[in-house]
Amino acid sequence: MQKNCVKRERVLFICIILALSIYSKALFGADHTTELINSSFYQELSISGTVTSDAGIPIPGVTVKISGYSKGTLTDQDGSYTITVQSGESLEYAYLGFQSQIIKIIDQTLVNVQLKESVTDLDAVTVNAGYYKVSERERTGNISSITSREIEKQPVSNALQALQGRLPGINITQNTGVPGGGYLVNIRGLNSISSGNDPFYIIDGVPFISESIILLGNEVISGANPLSTIHPDDIESIEVLKDADATAIYGSRGANGVILITTKKGRTDGVHFEVRSMTGIGNVPRKVSLLTTSQYIEMRREAFENDGVVPDGINAPDLTLWDQEKDIDWQEKLLGGNAYTHDIRTSISGGNKNSQFSVRGNYYDESTVYPGEKGYDRWSVNSAINHRSDDNRFQFSASSLFSRETNTLPYIDVTREALTLPPNAPDFLNEDGTLNFYTDVSNPFVYLKQPYKSITKNLLLNSQVSYELLPGLSLKTGIGYNLLNRDEIQSRPGSTIDPSSTTQPSSRFGKVTSESWIFEPQLQFVKEFQSLRLDLLLGSTFQERTNELQELQATGFSNDHFLNNPSAAAELSISNYDHNQYRYTALFGRINFKWRDRYLLNITGRRDGSSRFGPDKQFANFGAVGMAWIFSKESFLNENLDFISFGKLRGSFGVTGNDQIGDYEYLDSYSPTTYAYNGISGLYPSRLFNPVYGWERNRKLEVALELGFLEDRILLNSAYYRNRSDNQLVGIPLPGSTGFSTIRANLPAEIENTGLEFDLKVTLLHGGKFYWNSGFNISFPKTELLKYPGLESSSFANIYEEGQSLYIKRKIHLTGVNPETGVYDFEDVDGDGMIFAPNDLQSIYELSQDYYGGFANSFQWGNWNLDLLFQFVKQTGVKYAHYLAPGFLYNQPSFVLDRWQHSGDVTEVQRFTQSYTDAGYAYSTAQVQSDYIYEDASFIRWKNVNLSYRLSVKGAKISDIRLYFQGQNLLTITKYKGLDPENQGFRLPPLRRFVFGIEIKI
């Protein structure tokens, strides 16, 4: 251990010396550069002037900075500015929507600049790359982004939903339509067999927890993560980092891509007050066509007839005891409600060129489509201040965000009940609201009356201080803190318990606290030498995260009134406790060269240490090289092909890692048993002795071509990527006879994700009264298990296959309904006369997307704005198939009516049955083991509409009023038979929403 430490220190030391030597060489190495510094060092010039548009109107907020330096100043209300430069340096003027200008300073003191309005300005658009910012034109990596302008067009409560269909290479699936529910986010496919495939989330420089912190609510909002606590309106931009060049600086945490969220900051042009209020309505957009009572009864009777069983009060209460006429639409009754939303956003922001502030307050609430008083609300306060000194050497920013989310939901998502309850089920509710209990059928109102309540609090603090020690050299320090706290209560009131049972009223209390801090000192050096610009970054990271969770079981309350009070319970026990700590440290650096404004080289690297690995495996090195050639700056192109306004060829290669596994997994350990035996508390083995395992490695390669035509009115970005991950860090499934079900290890398997991504942006009409912008993106992902030495003899032998996707499912092939017997037939591959795994598992389905993308259009006509977004996904998914065969005491989709009835019938659906005879057994084989359950789940969705009208207000106080109408998930075209092809199965689908709102700016 000691020896290793010394070795590590030596490596580190060498790294730093290397970086320093580059630095000092840059400073003192070449003679002419030194002269440059000498000659200009004391010749400082104070430049002032005004920046106007080509129409002569002053533009406030224009960035004026010295070329090669990251810092600068901003123009004030009148468009005027003052800045100190040294002669020989150049000044850059940049403002969003205008073409940038560079003016070389020789001895001028007054510089007035006219900026030309641009159609699309790649220079003015800077994207956040995490530790640094780059302009869209000069970035060497693959970074896609959306800004608040796109986010605010969509009536969403979670910003992740606003990303759907907008960006190439990112597949986002909404798990459930329940408020506060979660999303599955995947950047460029699956890189890991079974450790995490979640991207790394960072909010204002602070790593944010993306894992679910739900203890009790998994029956209703499984998979929800704390990102739901961030109000979309607090977000200024979301950047998605995809390739090696962009992600390698995040080292071991960057393998699955990085999502950077930047919150809104203050403004430089006086005080502004904004208020926006929206109210909306949401509902389940589609219903499944189910059997009516008469069809249902026909099915049941036929099932009994087929089985040769006489229905009686015990096996068929629905045929003998229940009403035969009643026809209840359970989808209408349980999911047919409207989810009302209210969203109020207020902000005050302002400042001058030195200091800016912003305070934002948001409130959002949403009811559910379920019957009863359930719902979600969230409020948040977000404030930010920024300050920079007059000489721009000192910069400081701090922001804080606090949000509180309350979610009251039923115990489970009753979507399954809505789809499976017999249409003639007896009354579940009495007139007085009390419940009826039945043993044959589950009463959905029991779940609806068993409340689940969660309160999540999220505090996010961060501050950045930077000081320019010497020209071009700044010391920067970022400190961040995040506290997440979730309290949950799940109750079983006495009124929901069958009086004849002895079950006691009970409550469960869950508490999760997650705390993390990060400290990142950095040193940045920027220097420009004639045609070469050098940008150096050296920094280190210290990060710690602790989680604590506790679950309390309270039973036996004298009255339902006390269910939220654990001390009123007759019996209390702690049923779950966990505590873990994660620590992470790193040294990282970046060297960026720009030569003649057209050749860019970006080298990033990181040495990482994570506490999730055994003592000898904690540290590893990651890095990447990115290159770009802006060939449109070459004269041969300018002269011959002048319709090409922008052309860039870029590529990157690098290595990132993945440590998304649990803490302490390298320890082999024993944990306390739940119960003591005869007063002696017991221990049980909780983990196998584990040989050393290390980082999962992901090598990323990307080649991309970025083209702009006709003054950048057409922009086309095309990227090809190839990511190969090996050293797979997986829980290898073990045969249960080993005493465990999995063991963590590095697997010698290699996975390849390749893909093509296209992103086209076209300004179709620009100028005059009418604007029309259009965007289209499409991604073609592909995942393949390249090699797996010894797959045949491994525990994955029957799960994966070399040369096949990682998303494959191997199943028995269902050949159809046997026309003679009316029962499903399966393919007996090995011809042994029996259908059983694994030999007959020869039908392979790939549950993944063939391609996906979006098509966005934005129109502006005078004061009117219209935005439309369509999303499309081509994929194979899990079929809408009920768990029990048609004929059991459950309702079924109406397509089952096309069933086998007589010998010789050729049908899709087998004969009805109400028991586990051959047909019931065959259905369960079909459901559990066969390929019957997969089908095409592709869809095209009219995702979003945003129509707004800007009122011209002739008054001094109010500067702007906007009225708008927004819609989400308006229409879905699909062949999928269930509720929704996106989240598939028996969960509440994404809701369709309509929202009306007004925005007032002062």
Binding site: S501, S611, S671, A676, I680, R687, P735, S915, Y916
Partner: protein, 463 residues
Amino acid sequence: MKNIVQKIYFQKLTPVVFGILLITVGCENFTETELPRTEMSTESVFTDEKSTEAVISGIYSRMISSLGFAGGYFYSITNQAGLSSGELMSLRPPNAFQDFTLTSDDTSISNYLWNEPYSYIYTVNNVLEAVENDNHSTAENRNRISGEAHFIRAFCYFYLINMFGDVPLHLTTDYQKNSTASRTDTKVIYDQIIKDLLIAVAYLPEDYTIYGGERIRPTTAVAKAFLSRVYLYTENWNEAERLADEVIRMDGIYALTEDLNQVFLKDSKEAIWQLKPVRSGLNTFEGFWFIPPGNFAVSAEISDELLMAFESGDKRVDDWINTADNGQFSWSYPYKYKIRSGAIVSEYSVVIRLAELLLIRAEARAQTGKFQESLSDVNIIRDRAGLSALEFSTSEALLQDIYKERELELFAEWGHRWFDLKRTGRAEEVLGSRPNWNESRQLYPIPLDEITRNSNISQNPGY
């Protein structure tokens, strides 16, 4: 001039660069975290006698609190094998154990009847490996721990082979070896079971004193009783008789309770090994499962075949069987354990008891021609049940009487009926008319996961 610039750079830079350097280099140990609060490393567990002891009591705690295997609840051998044998009928049909429609992906098999005993086997293998390297505890403690570990291993393998036939035999914790092992012949496993039990007989404590007089952990007698059952199953009649005899003769310690209502009480004289309930508010799971809550028909009833098998006047019908009625129908249920739930624990779950040993001795004696002695053993059991003594007619009739007595005496306990039908070759004869029955149903399917994760494991025929 040049020098001044350099100086300025160096003066300002040096402390900053060194500061960063120091922080970074000095914190290479930053990634060392505090030890988890919720677990203990295996190494430290086995260097401490108390925690080694806790590992053993952990096994009993897991067994008795389990919903499966030894727990006595729905997923346990008692219920599931009872349903397969036809002595119990599910009140909530369909039931795959009763209908012989089990599939290899059924989690009630993989979780509760396969993984669970193997998890105990891993634990005791770990204990045995640690005991071998143990140089800090006394020989006495070491031997006792070793004896218990060997006993538990034998106990688990006994049930595994009787449910699944050939199973992989793991005697080490080496998961790499274990996860590619093939199935071992039951004969070889029986040899290992006998070997383990002989060690247990040698090492286990003589009496229950160190357990506070409660019969809740194994002693020499428990190992002998169990060994006698193993010999019976392997048809080593002489050894079966000898060992049963040794235990039965431990007069004063074990005796049949006169009152049938006292057999399953915690201080029952008849009990040889009991598991002590650990879940709060509960006595045994057997009571909780079989005794209906209110008038709900949720668990299992005693089949008509079994009810009919009792002679009139059999006290076991009155004392061990109860009836319930939910308004639509009535049913009989096992009432050996009489407490459904309750904070005061007065019943322990019996794993092995004296009555079984008497019947083992009777059977072993009948097989070796000691008919009169055999008959007298059977008649002890019959006498307690209030039935008249049997007379000898033929050896075949005697055997049938013993089988029947086992059916009546040991019903709803540990799947005795299911295993008896199989080992005596009567399964086809008794169960042949049941739907879906065929010869291959005598073995449960090997869990699918076991086969997909270890290609050297084959499935039982017919699944």
